[in-house]
Amino acid sequence: MKNRLPELRAERGESQADLAAAVEVTRQTINSVERERYDPSLELAMDLAVHYDTTVEDIFTNE
């Protein structure tokens, strides 16, 4: 699933490890989501949306 995580992280100057710690997953999971190798659960997608103060559909697009 395509996503804007790298862009959103860059805007905040966050590393993958920072984001992983914030949403309580491993850095490898964030890396896999960014590379579109793993589709996050609804719970993780919502946690990411809350973390970036936006909506799930703003971060993820099903293309």
Partner: protein, 131 residues
């Protein structure tokens, strides 16, 4: 990238290594003729690994690991199921025609596979019930 004592990768690697060491010690000590000591070594390793997991504040395993384990389990069941569906009926037919003998280990393997799929079927029913 470097790892530190609090890096989740360090905990994951240590946790996995402790379980692996326990299993190797268990098998090695049985082969060496010390089965009781082997069992103790395995239980000790298990206690250390579980203790590490409990006291660690790092995220060692998350939803992606669950998905990976789920895929691996599905593929394993599929491979064992397909192999069993070919091998066991074929061997049974050949045995019925007196072309082959059933070795004892093959009968034990058959019991193991039957038990494995009995557990799998029970887990399918449980998972369906929970949904």
């Amino acid at each position: 990238m470097t790892t530190t004592a609090t890096d989740p990768r360090t905990y994951r690697t240590t946790y996995t290594a402790i379980w692996a060491l326990g299993a190797i010690a268990f098998a090695g000590l049985i082969v060496a003729g010390y089965p009781f000591v082997g069992s103790l070594a395995f239980f000790l390793a298990a206690a250390v690994a579980i203790g590490l997991s409990a006291q660690s504040e790092a995220i060692m395993f998350d939803e992606r690991d669950e998905a990976v384990f789920g895929d691996a389990g599905r593929w394993t069941i599929a491979i064992v199921g397909l192999a069993s569906a070919v091998v066991f009926p074929t061997m049974t037919a050949l045995r019925a025609l007196d072309y082959v003998e059933w070795p004892l280990w093959f009968a034990h393997l058959g019991y193991f596979v039957a038990g494995l799929f009995a557990v799998w079927f029970a887990m399918v029913l449980l998972a369906r019930y929970q949904r």
